[in-house]
Point group: D2
């Protein structure tokens, strides 16, 4: 919220143990850090602790690097991994698309107007269609076509573009290619995908036809991290939209667009606000 704009974020996780909160909050106090929002959760099943603190430094010349260095010693005693994020941070991202542009258009709008603190470094697509949209936003567009024969090369090229761009997150905004297990593994935890999940889940070919046959009354969208299994990674956000009998299969596809946009944007926002923690194949999302 408001105070977020000028707050630093300290986010961390470690194995559950007495004193995990104290090691963080005591240090923040000692450093003269004024906590505006704090949220921690201890997962008793997973035996893991998660914490996120938004704070304002009291002194004007607050030194992030010095903070990191000094906190490292304390954190290591708890096997704690942490990140310190400055107030003016904009997450560098690469967006991958095919021909469908509703999610891309939505992300670029939020990017252009500063509603989403991302720094779009490049757009990658296996089709040339969305180049004009990228151009209007002054963004590099890499058209990397793919065939079964060239898949390995194309994915190598995708990796190269992402690496050279300095992106910390890849957003699969309706990229209609199945990534190879290698690329999934490479991007694990660093790539967010949106897929049109349905209630109940319909797997296999033509999911919307299956959903239509059952007469579903809701269509949904799931934003999740990629892991080794493309469509089954840890869930970050989900949304639904009502439909009825008058929605033929092609209408179900269309109907899901708005909820896909909103759900993907929400997931990216949670990620860049350092609200999402990955552990043991699932997420903890410290909202509110």
């Amino acid at each position: 919220m408001h105070s977020e704009n000028n707050s630093w974020i300290l986010s961390a996780q470690c194995p559950s143990r007495l004193g995990t909160v104290d090691v963080v909050t005591r240090f923040l106090k000692e450093q003269g850090c004024y906590i505006t929002e704090l949220h921690s959760f201890d997962d008793y099943r997973g035996g893991q602790f998660f914490i996120r603190a938004a704070f304002l430094p009291e002194q004007a010349d607050f030194d992030g690097d010095g903070f990191r260095e000094q906190f490292t010693a304390r954190a290591s005693a708890f096997d704690m991994q942490f990140e310190l994020t400055p107030p003016d941070y904009r997450l560098p991202v690469v967006i991958m698309v095919s021909k469908t542009d509703h999610c891309l258009n939505d992300l670029l709008y939020r990017y252009r107007t500063g509603q989403l603190a991302i720094d779009v470094r490049a757009i990658v697509s296996n089709h040339p269609d969305l180049e004009p949209l990228a151009a209007w936003h002054g963004l590099p567009y890499h058209h990397l076509p793919i065939t079964p024969e060239t898949k390995a090369e194309q994915e190598a090229e995708v990796r190269r573009v992402v690496e050279e761009s300095g992106a910390e997150l890849v957003v699969l905004a309706r990229y209609m290619q199945v990534l190879s297990p290698e690329l999934c593994h490479h991007f694990a935890g660093r790539a967010i995908n949106i897929h049109h999940s349905l209630l109940p889940g319909f797997k296999g070919a033509k999911p919307y036809h299956q959903a239509y046959e059952k007469g579903v009354k809701l269509v949904g969208a799931t934003a999740h991290y990629i892991n080794d299994d493309l469509d089954e990674g840890p869930i970050i956000a989900q949304g639904v939209e009502a439909v009825d009998h008058a929605h033929y299969p092609e209408d179900l596809v269309a109907r899901g667009r708005d909820i896909e946009c909103l759900t993907l944007a929400r997931a990216v926002r949670y990620h860049l606000q350092k609200r999402v923690f990955l552990h043991a194949g699932r997420t903890v999302v410290l909202t509110g």
Copy 2:
């Protein structure tokens, strides 16, 4: 809505063909029936037509039987099946439960206060626990315990109770037994079940543990007709509720209760208002 209370309902379906609306509306006009609400839908994929008309007879001594008789001739020319439902109709139902009572309590509250135009003829359970709740409402409670050995007998008894009660609908309000294929078939289209579907669908054992492992952000409920496959019948209504990482598997179970109540009640209401049409394994629900 309001005018529903004193309206007759004519609901019908037949194969798609020119003139299906006209055969209904012309007859209503001829009979001096004042239409307050009309909804029709022609499913081009299924090739089937559905219509629902709420109307007020102009003459005070409107004769339902006469109406049915006269309309039969016209309807048969279109292979049209129809139902005429009077304004004061209360649907006779049998409710089946186990030990969990949230759906039962909700249904009985709506029944007792007249919010749901059902006439509860009996409650059937494989456990004795909910007898006091039935007793307070002055309703017969049939405790029919079940074991693998007695399943066939118990189900025969269930059928007998339903038949003798005159129920037109069986509501499975968290009845935790898997009905035999025979009983499913027997009740096909005449029994509504509620089950906790999830996004994406988790099948097999311990669905809530699977959902927890994935970190789902929504839990859902699906009310559907029973057909030969217990949990896969045509969907009537669906709902969802938000959850987060702090919901352990046992919390996910608890969290779904409110949405199960609301979704089941909505499905029963649509059914008794003759808004739900079954055709070729899916539903058309003419709401609003």
Copy 3:
């Protein structure tokens, strides 16, 4: 839905009376019009009847003008006003904006991709800021600045632009000027406005500050026709979004953007699909 794309729409209203449905459906039958979806409602309080039929002509050379001419005689016997809309109809609109572009961006996206069957004739603004967005879509942009002294002239210019464009609907997509009573009256029923309504309604200055002071948990949006009172016209669609204590007044403003976009787009869609009927200061919206 699907069949809408190639269906004609007949929409009509008249005073309540026996036979209102029949006069429509009988004529459609006689003309060989195959009804794919039909919805009628008779408002007993207002004493007014509303009907909307989607249909496919049986003959290839269906003549809309001939249909209109022939139906006029029948309709006039019921004091019925009707509209016949062809399948390929795109509603000509003028969009009015100020500096805020979330609703404009959303509408133009849906326009550009054909998701919303509008034909944007011009964009009118009292500021120059959004001209590039219009330019990228190849749309004329009329910058008509306004001061208290020039209000009358500016509004005359707005009327001229709208008239010359041939627009049938004006969409106020966050146009931050209060229209004069004369212009409101001129556009009555032909202009849709979106405003951030709150729960409960806060009127007067700084509504978001009032809402913050009360600690509202929901912010909303209302799309409505303009009538003589700018913010109080007949409601077409409404939506809400959850907020919490961490939303300061400026956050409440930001939070409402997504729901404003969705609600305005839905209202425009209902309007162009001829689902919205205006009568006695309120709307009847025949959805589904």
Copy 4:
């Protein structure tokens, strides 16, 4: 959630100042309290700090009174008000009703099944109608009729019943009498009311008729604390439900029932879980 069941809750608030988090978390660490969930928020506009910690004591013989006593010294240095709530705490409540029973039925169901950790001490009503419902739950029912002449006496009696019952919260579950300013003041912050708020807010006589005239598409419910102004107190929870043109004023009333039940139950749950903080006429609700 799960761990809540056996967690102690420490909730506190004080003026904003550096070190407010640390004074709480350091003490919990020193006392060997294992924090399972922690949430704090510092309201920069109000200049007030809020914190809620759920924790499990390490030692089996944890002494709540000793904890309170020792923490008092530290807290007072920060002008901090705090509450310590044990895991097996059940909030003693008095429920006030008139003739409408949907909220009462819902609350008593959640009470009876242990879903809501309340201890219903008594039910107070100005009508005798709901006595049987109370009786079935084995609860004392105080029928305290009211007339303009006896209002002062009746309210004195209400206060007496509440005091003698030891209730810490009064739940106005559709109590259709306007409390006197004196009683409002007396119950300020200790009584939760549910009222059917609408979008936009309609005040004055017959709000549902006003809402109908405007053609609202949503009806809502607001649960709030009572303060000196009965219907305008600090908001705890809000919900909405969709409606359409076919909902006549009397239908709007009926339609709001489900959302009133859910919203009131949610507000009572937040309150008893010590998630709701009152400050300067508004609430901070630390959920999730």
